[in-house]
Symmetry: C2
């Protein structure tokens, strides 16, 4: 089976490495506009060869589009134009509504499967890729009724049977609404925390001495790649803006109580927040079970 | 050497366990108003015996006060009243100005050392304690000039020589101003993120499926104990409120750019936030070096 991976970064690279380990006989064709990334991907064994987009897609049974979401929107109609009969295209973008819309009336819409693997780290590029990134994680497939049954089967075989991912199905618009809260918002909260602390503390040494593992954990996502995240925020602006309003409201409410020295309300608010324990232990036990 | 640990939670319990491993001949006397915690501490080998406060302090060379900061403020003058000649008291509270103020004119002020170990987890109680928590971490000592030289030596011997902590010195008011940014604020950002998501997503299963390790990391501190954190926020209200204002400003600025679809400014803002990488790698390499 020939699989093209367009975009040899963290997600594309990790998908390629996992497939080479778990899908015997697969040939990975890498596509990347960055020559440096293409060369790194070859050197790291991520891709068997590098080709220009047109040639790669023409030779492929499956095309995995793992580029930033603004590039997906630009590139996806063209990729569908280029595929051979029976081939399937899947994307791995963190937004789904815009991406589905752009191919909504494409004659080959049914050869496309809209995917979003819930996996990532704050690192990027081929050097950040590792073969275990996707294994056992969630993969959300949106608007499945718009894809051919055999196209879905091919994609599910790869992600469920080979990469051991848990597949769930969702409407694209619902996906974007939920993901604004559980992923996009936490990135913004982390970027903002970083900028707040950096603006205040010019003398890095004093932060370094006083910051512990709690700060590291909360601010970790602030290391994420702006080239990936700016287009996500732009595409999901309405949902993200709503989640951000709700978040700012929570912070402002807490600030009022703080200034009133209303310890009782602050206490109850934190107790409510403790409710996330149940959910987090669910996530972790799931990851541990799968790992 | 007899050491009383007042408060047998995560921090007090972990201090006790580390001392028993690294300070031969030490006898740990535990004090806790919770009978359950006292019983757990005995069962877990955290304390050699449990005594009421008065008796414990009367038998001790060193008293470690590891209770929530509101209780420290109430208890500290009384503890200083009760110590024997030559004994030393150290606290482990996350605020320093209020705590130093309450004993400012105490006749035994110089037997007190104001400490803040930069170590913790989101868990609490004796069952959360583990002997490695403090090892190799930072310990900030405030207003050292107010402590006797021999009192400081005893405390530094314990925390630097035995527990291998890096000691740094600071003015109490400066400590509170900085720690609002690098610790207290990240707890609030995390509590608020948890409440925002919980309020929106009544159906826990849908969060569970869509939340990944990035969300877990950012929201981890929302599991922290309100009984510990409410008094910290109250005591450091002015600094925390300032840091919170700056944080809300960052978020509101981002929201404006988001609604304007100003991708360029959003991009630059995230690039600035990436600057935290240098600092975080400093923290991590430090922890790894010491572990």
């Amino acid at each position: 089976m020939n699989i093209s991976i367009i975009g040899l970064g963290l997600l594309g690279g990790s998908t390629a490495l996992a497939l080479k380990e778990r899908l015997p006989g697969v040939r990975i064709i890498g596509v990347d506009t960055s020559r440096q990334h293409a060369a790194q991907a070859l050197a790291l064994g991520i891709a068997d060869k590098i080709l220009p987009l047109t040639e790669a897609v023409a030779q492929s049974d499956v095309v995995v589009v793992a580029v930033p979401v603004d590039t997906i929107v630009e590139m996806l109609p063209q990729v569908l134009d280029l595929i051979t009969d029976g081939a399937v295209v899947v994307d791995l973008g963190s937004t789904k509504e815009c991406i589905c819309q752009v191919v909504d009336s494409h004659p080959r819409r049914s050869r496309f499967v809209a995917g979003h693997p819930i996996a990532g780290t704050e690192r990027s590029g081929p050097v950040a890729a590792f073969n275990e990134l996707l294994i056992g994680k969630q993969m959300i497939i949106c608007d499945r009724e718009r894809s051919d049954v055999d196209a879905l089967e091919i994609i599910e075989n790869i992600f469920r049977n080979r990469l051991r991912m848990q597949i769930s199905y969702m409407d694209g618009a619902d996906h974007d609404r939920h993901i604004a809260y559980v992923s996009h918002l936490s990135h913004i909260s982390s970027f903002a925390l970083s900028n707040t602390v950096l603006a205040k503390e010019k003398d890095e040494q004093s932060i370094f001495e006083m910051a512990g593992s709690g700060f590291s954990s909360t601010v970790r996502l602030a290391k994420s790649n702006p080239s990936m995240w700016a287009p996500i925020f732009i595409q999901n602006a309405q949902n993200v803006s709503q989640s951000l309003s709700a978040y700012i409201d929570e912070l402002q409410q807490f600030k009022v109580w703080l200034e009133e020295q209303n310890e009782e309300n602050m206490y109850r608010w934190m107790e409510d927040a403790n409710g996330i324990r149940t959910i987090l232990s669910g996530i972790h036990s799931n990851e541990e079970n799968q790992a």
